[in-house]
């Protein structure tokens, strides 16, 4: 008994001291807000920019003092000058739009078509089971190896590049949507049916929103694959595009111009990547069907 009362007294005293603690803490209250996260993000972005500038400065410097052979490795200042020449007297801008256009069209159509294929699997298990292995098999085919066939089939124009970009993306998108469909919680479907839902309700209200994160996760890979498809198409045979410019520059041993092409492609892929990130965010935010 005695021990018991002691315990009670003890706990009371710790309790009162806790209350005091709370009182004294009130004055220096710390609220978790976003300012810390924002600061960290600013530091990261600043660091990224500084690192980029340092790489360029190092490249320029090493090339000037002769540690890097500027014939092979070119030099940022020369690349800028050559690039400017290619814009003002050549067709660099048109080439860039050509490549970007084929990539983006192929990417959008491939992603849409692939997503529809993948989502359609939800409607019939039998159809899904029959189709799935072919999808996986076709995914394993190196589609770039088909490029010559496509160029002969669809000509050396814009279409063959867009189609190659499309082929590069469609299967990945379909497989991603397919995983999304497979991950749908059966109980959620059941719950909707219990509310009198038809299949189409379940599809729009549960299947699509459940699958969106899966589909979205494939976008970033797909934009890079689409660009690769376009460039290979241009390598095979083309009158326009950055890929053709690089090939041509290589043939006449103008390595500076090759570097211009590489830099433009890098910038292009970064810009498209950022665009995809934005699309990703938007899609995830707006899936409240």
């Amino acid at each position: 008994m005695e021990g018991n009362t002691e315990k009670i007294i003890l706990s009371q005293s710790t309790f009162s001291s806790q209350v005091e603690d709370e009182k004294s803490e009130k004055e220096k209250i710390v609220v978790e807000d976003e300012s810390h996260a924002v600061r960290v993000r600013k530091i990261i972005i600043a660091g990224q920019i500084i690192a980029g500038i340092m790489i360029i400065v190092l490249w320029e410097g090493l090339s000037r003092i002769g540690w890097l052979d500027s014939y092979y490795w070119s030099r940022p200042s020369i690349i800028v000058r050559t690039g400017w020449m290619a814009v003002s007297t050549g067709t660099l801008l048109e080439d860039t739009f050509y490549t970007a256009g084929a990539t983006i069209i192929g990417f959008i159509l491939g992603t849409l078509a692939g997503s529809m294929i993948g989502l359609s699997f939800w409607w019939s298990t039998i159809y899904a089971r029959i189709t799935e292995p072919y999808l996986v098999a076709f995914n394993a085919v190196p589609k770039l190896a088909l490029a010559p066939v496509l160029v002969i089939m669809f000509g050396i124009g814009f279409e063959s590049k867009a189609i190659l970009a499309f082929l590069m993306t469609v299967i990945v998108a379909a497989l991603a949507a397919c995983s999304g469909v497979n991950s749908v919680d059966r109980d959620l479907e059941k719950m909707l049916f219990s509310l009198g839902a038809k299949k189409r309700h379940v599809f729009t209200k549960v299947v699509i929103p459940s699958a969106i994160p899966w589909m979205v996760s494939s976008l970033k890979i797909n934009i890079a694959l689409a660009l690769a498809g376009t460039i290979v198409g241009e390598f095979i045979s083309s009158r326009q595009g950055i890929g053709r410019m690089i090939l041509y520059a290589g043939q006449i041993m103008d390595l500076n111009l090759v570097w211009v092409g590489v830099v433009v492609l890098s910038v292009l892929s970064i810009v498209m990547y950022l665009g995809t990130l934005w699309l990703e965010k938007w899609l995830l935010k707006n899936r409240k069907y």
Binding site: D187, L188, S194, L195, G196, A197, H201, K205, K288
Partner: protein, 258 residues
């Protein structure tokens, strides 16, 4: 008046080429406006029975009559809250609750207008724009139950709605449910593992036997309403509890042995 009738219903499943019986010739007659509980050992087919009544499963034999009409295989004729809360994580609480109305073709705007006062009245005030992941377990159950209620069918099936809650929250939710039941005058079928809960809430209790599940016992709870904490110490309550405990212990034993 008899609202819902289950007639000689059974359900057989096939597993690894063995046919086994999940529910054996069950008969029930539920009077309109009553609160009826079902208790029984785990795996005895309670959820299976609910799935049959809700039209999500077809019974192997027998019939389910709602207002005298056969509703086998027709989903959406009764409100059904499944064993999990099953809120859509990408929808706000308000938009989750209006799901049933939306499926019926009510516009989102109209449905929200109708649901909002309910959320406010029944303990979700201020949470309408939160997402399910931001809510406590009890709150989620409330939202799921309000969704079922707003779907507005006369009969509501609740499959262990408070199974995952702690004892304290459970008590609160039980009173909350009784209040709602009083306000809406629904016929409720309620599955639980908790004998106290069953007695406290119900007018009648069905006890299911060990697998294959069938009705072993059917008792009427004559405790007066409204019920409160004092109900738990009523001698009628204690007698009934003892009886049910004994009855269920036999079944539990069989479950352990098998």
């Amino acid at each position: 008046m008899i609202k819902l009738e289950v007639k000689n219903s059974s359900k057989y499943f096939e597993k690894n080429n063995n046919v086994f019986c999940a529910l054996k010739s069950t008969d029930m007659a539920i009077t309109e406006g009553k609160f009826v509980s079902i208790i029984g050992p785990s795996g005895c087919g309670k959820s299976t029975l609910f799935n049959i009544i809700a039209g999500l499963l077809k019974p192997s034999t027998g019939q389910v009559l709602l207002d005298g009409k056969n509703i086998i295989g027709e989903s959406g004729r009764v409100g059904y809250m499944l064993q999990k809360d099953l809120l859509l994580p990408w929808r706000s609480i308000l938009d989750n609750v209006i799901l049933g109305l939306e499926i019926r073709g009510t516009s989102k705007k109209e449905a929200r207008k109708r649901a909002l006062p309910m959320l406010k009245k029944y303990g979700l005030n201020g949470f309408e724009n939160h997402f399910p992941s931001e809510l406590s377990g009890g709150m989620k159950q409330r939202a799921a139950l309000l969704r079922t209620l707003l779907y507005d069918q006369d009969v509501i099936l609740l499959d262990e709605p408070f199974g995952a809650l702690d004892a304290q929250t459970r008590l609160l939710m039980q009173s909350w449910l009784l209040k709602i039941w009083g306000d809406f005058k629904k016929t409720i079928l309620f599955v639980t593992h908790d004998i106290d809960e069953a007695i406290y809430l119900s007018d009648e209790i069905y006890i299911f036997s060990h697998r294959p599940g069938c009705i072993k016992d059917h008792v009427t709870v004559n405790l007066s309403r409204p019920r409160n904490e004092a109900t738990f110490t009523d001698s009628l309550f204690l007698n009934l509890k003892q009886k049910l405990l004994a009855s269920l212990a036999e079944e539990q034993e069989q479950t352990m042995r098998s």
